[in-house]
């Protein structure tokens, strides 16, 4: 089997479980985003694949070959760190040369490869600068250049853009994809930013508390979340939760709520904020505050009824697991007026 696969990989440190029984497969050229809140195990996963930390149990395979116990330096891994980890005492050229020199690449080839990657990333004029003399975006490009130079078999990116401003991040996304994805090596991309995960990745793996919650395509995770955590973590503005009998909960996304003539829940608009070109309305209802994304130009009365289509309901049991065909939602007891 080609590509990267993790089989039942766990990592414990002392009595702390950082990662528990992770199964993942990344095809060659595929970009898989590891998404989750901080401390969920995504960076741990990356460090295990890189060989920077040892697995407590489980296997890591690359193109069918077991690399679980191979030292980091022999895995041909390219990694871009969140902090870029450029060597501060060396200039850009020396930073790039260090790895090749330690691998014994002869001088002429070294110079040729460095020149090519400098050209590709438009770093040539900065070659004699130290990292401290570079802007954040330039440092990121140097880190990327270093990763590309390695002719990697796996590419690992640890929040590579979190130190850049939002606009630059957006511009860099296609650039990163062009440079790193679609080639031979599988790409693992760690982020806590769902927007970035959706923009960068072919598939997303959502992690929480050291466990894999769900892995799937970007749309799939959004429309068909298997756990309450995934439904809650993906999608902004965040999903609405309505309690139902038996400890179950119903999730309805803000864009699926709509005003309707009769039936549904009595609601009173509390405030509105602009969400791009659409108004997001906060509604006071007998079932708590709900968020409703109105179509552009929609107008609201002071008092209204809101509802949703049954096919847009997402049901979860008391343990947060998805249940299919549990609807439709019925109002419990008599609706109070608001």
């Amino acid at each position: 089997m080609s590509g990267l696969s993790l089989e039942q990989v766990s990592r414990r440190s002392g009595d702390r479980v950082l990662l528990e029984g992770l199964d993942l497969a990344v095809a060659p050229g595929e970009c898989l985003a590891l998404l989750g809140p901080s401390g969920c195990g995504k960076t741990t996963t990356l460090r295990l694949v890189a060989g920077l930390d040892p697995c407590s149990s489980g296997r890591i395979l690359l193109n069918g070959e077991d690399i679980t116990h191979r030292p980091a330096g022999e895995r041909q891994v390219a990694m871009v760190f969140q902090s870029y980890a450029l060597f501060p005492h060396l200039d850009v050229g020396e930073n790039l040369a260090l790895g090749l020199r330690s691998r014994g690449v002869p001088r002429p080839e070294r110079d040729r490869r460095i020149a090519a990657v400098l050209e590709l990333l438009e770093l040539t004029p900065l070659v004699r600068r130290r990292p401290a003399q570079l802007s954040g975006g330039q440092r990121q490009r140097v880190a990327l250049a270093r990763a590309l130079l390695r002719q990697p078999r796996i590419v690992l990116l640890d929040e590579p853009m979190s130190n850049l401003d939002a606009r630059l991040r957006e511009d860099l996304r296609p650039e990163l994809r062009r440079l790193l994805c679609g080639g031979e090596p599988p790409v693992l991309y760690v982020t806590h930013d769902q927007q970035e995960a959706m923009g960068m990745a072919d598939r997303i793996a959502v992690l929480q508390a050291g466990r894999l919650e769900q892995v799937g395509g970007v749309r799939e995770l959004y429309t068909d979340p298997r756990t309450r955590f995934v439904a809650d973590f993906l999608g902004r503005p965040a999903i609405n939760w309505l309690p139902a009998e038996g400890g179950r909960v119903l999730g309805v996304r803000p864009e699926h709520l709509r005003p309707q003539a009769e039936g549904g829940i009595a609601a009173r608009p509390l405030r509105r904020e602009w969400w791009g070109h659409q108004p997001l309305v906060w509604l006071e209802t007998p079932h708590g505050t709900l968020r409703m994304l109105l179509p552009a130009g929609g107008e609201l009365l002071d008092y209204l009824m809101v509802g949703w289509r049954a096919e847009n309901e997402l049901w979860f049991d008391a343990d947060g697991r998805r249940i299919d065909g549990a609807g439709p939602w019925r109002q419990q007891g008599r609706a109070r007026a608001v």
């Binding site: 060989g51 260090l98 790895g99």
Partner: protein, 265 residues
């Protein structure tokens, strides 16, 4: 204000320099002290003495160099391990080190003397480096540990991914980045060894093996009838010059490098 600070720190040194250049008559009050012509008589006196002062300068330099080298060699790996391998053991060793750094050295003399006698370490300059290193180590480790704590671990991760072994990581990444800390630790260690008096006094008795502080004490106590202010001042000046040189050389390392800009902005 700055002038005042300069005067405050340089004043005594300059006065000492001035004293060392005065003829002995001017020092004991005959004739106006300020007007006397400068002379190198005091320097000739101490350098031609028995043993000559350059001999003890050399001894001190040897002991200082040996102590500094040995201290850095032991302190760096220890500090690195303590900082990077966190755990109860590292914590315990760290606490013990701090306690050792605070331990009054006076209480050690008898023990050290006994050790010197048992293992025949007296009058041996190389052996003198051992207690000096032992005493300098706690502070050196604490200083280097703080410097290592400031190094982002990602730098080493990156180096490991580049396929660099431990030796190369130390040479190409760790040492250059720690150069300022190493330089200042070296200066402090050398200074301690250069100034140390009681242990040298008890361990060394042969005059040609005396280190600078003990030689100077001998100079001062060489006559009951006169206090050789001039010779003493000359010895002080000669004893300070190597330190001055050392600091000037090390300054290059202290100012250079710095990890600024390694991580984030």
């Amino acid at each position: 204000m700055r002038l005042l600070a300069l005067l405050w720190s340089l004043g005594p040194l300059l006065w000492q320099l001035h004293t060392s250049l005065l003829p002995p008559e001017a020092l004991v009050g005959q004739g106006p002290a300020g007007a006397a012509a400068w002379t190198l008589a005091n320097y000739r006196l101490v350098l031609a003495g028995d043993p000559p002062l350059w001999r003890s300068l050399l001894n001190s330099a040897l002991v200082g160099g040996g102590t500094t080298a040995l201290t850095l060699l032991l302190a760096l790996p220890c500090a690195y391990a303590l900082q990077r391998r966190r755990g109860p053991l590292a914590w315990g060793v760290g606490a013990a080190l701090l306690a050792a750094a605070l331990f009054p050295t006076v209480l050690l003399f008898l023990g050290l003397l006994e050790l010197a006698r048992t293992f025949h370490l007296g009058n041996n300059l190389a052996a003198l480096c051992l207690p000096y290193t032992a005493l300098a180590l706690p502070l050196a480790i604490l200083l280097l540990r703080a410097a290592i704590a400031d190094l982002p671990p990602e730098l080493e991760d990156a180096a490991r991914l580049e396929g660099m072994g431990l030796g190369m990581r130390v040479r190409a990444v760790l040492l250059p980045l720690l150069a300022p800390a190493l330089a200042s630790t070296a200066i402090l260690t050398f200074l301690f060894s250069w100034n140390e008096y009681p242990i040298a006094l008890t361990w060394i008795s042969r005059v040609d093996r005396l280190t600078l502080p003990t030689a100077m004490a001998r100079l001062a106590g060489s006559s009951v009838f006169t206090v050789p202010y001039g010779a003493f001042a000359a010895a002080t000046v000669l004893g300070s010059l190597p330190l001055l040189l050392l600091v000037l050389v090390a300054q290059r390392w202290i100012v250079r490098g710095l990890t600024q800009g390694a991580v984030k902005g």
